[in-house]
Symmetry: C2
């Protein structure tokens, strides 16, 4: 079904960047970043400016069309935020309408999804000025985010040094939460996990995952500058370990990332174990959608970074009462000398993250 498509399979998940996209264009001045990281960085012909842009699209994974629109937008913008960019000059929306929907469903669902996308864009201080819509068997939602930056506006994700610590700004486990929520209606699936979780707890975890996915990483992006972040990425389709490895590969210095702690939405670790290590959540390979930023910070700054994340309101960026006021962040590991790889220690500490509204 449509809902399954983007979830049970790994392929086609959000954040599956197309690594086949090959080599970069002609050599030019200024920093340049191509395939493999979150956004591409193109030096422009005009006064030291760079064009930075990113695209992402995927299939709906939550049932609420408005929230799905917000999540899709947050997920696109997150690639800019991962570079410490807090502004976005323009967004395009990429949509497909499912042929299987009747007129009534279409008129109900699509405007809500577009509204959610637009509202999140507005919360990010930007707007949607164009896009493309097609008919397709499945619904697709996504977009393009573009900004023209001066050199100080962005942080290249390659400056980690031994002694840094790793900070994560959203808990893991969105994929497990979203799937567990579907399994409540599938007895053979539900039977495998019902001993460790109640339906009420699944509903709570699902709501929590949805709120987290809809939260912009914009506050984190702003604080990256204040606390001198050395590198960052956002956690999406490859899971925390996959993205940590990706980021490690990009580093200029001989470093390795070691992850000690896994903050996970409450009960999702237990479900994962009960289901036979579902999605590899405890190995760090479970996909996330619109996950948090994984940031390399100077050790002495990290605690204050986390404290300011917690204290922050989206309103500090000119909005108020936005989703994601007062986000939690965790120090999850360290940067040591090494050969540009990343690993999770043998028995990482699982941090159970309770619902934020409880």
């Amino acid at each position: 079904s449509d809902r399954q498509a983007g979830q049970d399979g790994r392929t086609g998940e959000s954040g599956e960047e197309t690594s086949e996209f090959g080599q970069l264009g002609p050599v030019s001045h200024g920093p340049r970043l191509g395939i493999g990281m979150d956004s591409c960085v193109i030096p422009l012909r005009h006064g030291g400016l760079s064009l930075i842009q990113t695209t992402d699209f995927f299939y709906p994974l939550v049932e609420d069309p408005y929230m799905m629109g917000r999540i899709a937008c947050a997920n696109v913008l997150s690639d800019l935020y991962a570079m410490g960019i807090t502004e976005c000059d323009n967004m395009l929306m990429l949509l497909s309408i499912s042929q299987k929907m009747n007129d009534k469903e279409r008129e109900h669902v699509m405007p809500l999804m577009m509204r959610g996308f637009r509202d999140a864009a507005e919360e990010g201080g930007t707007s949607v000025t164009g896009g493309q819509t097609v008919m397709n068997p499945w619904i697709i939602v996504g977009g393009v985010a573009t900004v023209v930056c001066q050199p100080n506006d962005f942080i290249m994700p390659d400056g980690a040094i031994p002694g840094d610590v790793l900070v994560l700004t959203k808990p893991l486990g969105t994929q497990v939460a979203v799937n567990a929520h579907q399994w409540m209606d599938i007895p053979e699936k539900w039977n495998k996990i019902k001993l460790v979780i109640s339906k009420e707890e699944v509903e709570q975890a699902y709501q929590e995952a949805m709120l987290n996915m809809a939260t912009l990483n914009r506050t984190a992006a702003a604080l990256m500058h204040k606390f001198n972040a050395h590198a960052a990425t956002d956690v999406t389709g490859f899971g925390i370990l996959g993205h940590a490895q990706n980021l490690a590969k990009q580093q200029r210095n001989d470093v390795a990332f070691v992850i000690h702690n896994l903050p996970i939405i409450a009960k999702m670790a237990a479900i994962s174990k009960a289901g036979g290590n579902l999605f590899g959540l405890l190995q760090g390979t479970s996909s996330e959608t619109s996950g948090g930023l994984l940031i390399c910070l100077p050790r002495e700054q990290a605690a204050r970074f986390c404290a300011e994340m917690k204290a922050s309101r989206s309103s500090s960026l000119g909005q108020d009462g936005g989703i994601g006021d007062g986000q939690q962040a965790w120090i999850i590991g360290i940067v040591e000398k090494g050969n540009r790889c990343a690993r999770i220690i043998d028995k990482p500490r699982i941090i159970e993250v309770p619902p934020s509204c409880s």
Copy 2:
């Protein structure tokens, strides 16, 4: 089937811009163009520069994956060319791989399609630095083109004046040619048109349509500056009349567009008539994919514009031997005083355009 999807139906065709995308962002200085025209124009915070970008994606409509990639790229870039923009700072590729393909088909088709897209981007003096790929029931191919411009780099599509003439830079009939090519294998369809065309002629028209669709409108964009074009658009999903009407609506002056001539790929008018006015080709409503530019030019410049199109080689822009060397262009109508509408006269002259290689 996959191939039918993007062709027989009007919905989801290339060029179906999402007019639902609503109002523009906050008012700011400099020209701004939002929904409805080919590209969006966003004034930047930096020294009078504008961000101009466009996106398009659709389903394959020709059988040759390499040519399909070229067509998709030409179609995306065309929205920039329609504004007289000859450079592109960055492209992203949007792809979906069909689930229905087996590994062998996938490994054959997708690299060729990506190669075609990249080659066309290179011919356009730009490159692809990122994108997104998902799995989907159908193949999708498209992209995003972005440029940062100074005011003189682009021509806002709103300056037509009475006395101008309308020039078209590619013949019409791509949709009819592509469909006729499929109908050769469907007896009940073929029986309707076989009295007016041979299979060999269909094959020729199909090849001609494919070459036209793969041709960049870049030469036309460059010549728009040289010959003081007042406005332009590219002809895609809404057909020549639909796009003429769209362009007319954008005009600052009280003008109307009147089309007298319809240059059409040889025999496609006859097929259209035989099939009962197929797709409304003679009414100007037949979809085109990666069609030509429709340009409002000062009357005294138009003949020279057409002559230079014919004489031009892509090499004048730094490439040589590219598809589309020596393109034909036609004066197809006039701009008169009126209320921002467009029409085709009662019995337009049909110009039969023979295959370019014949």
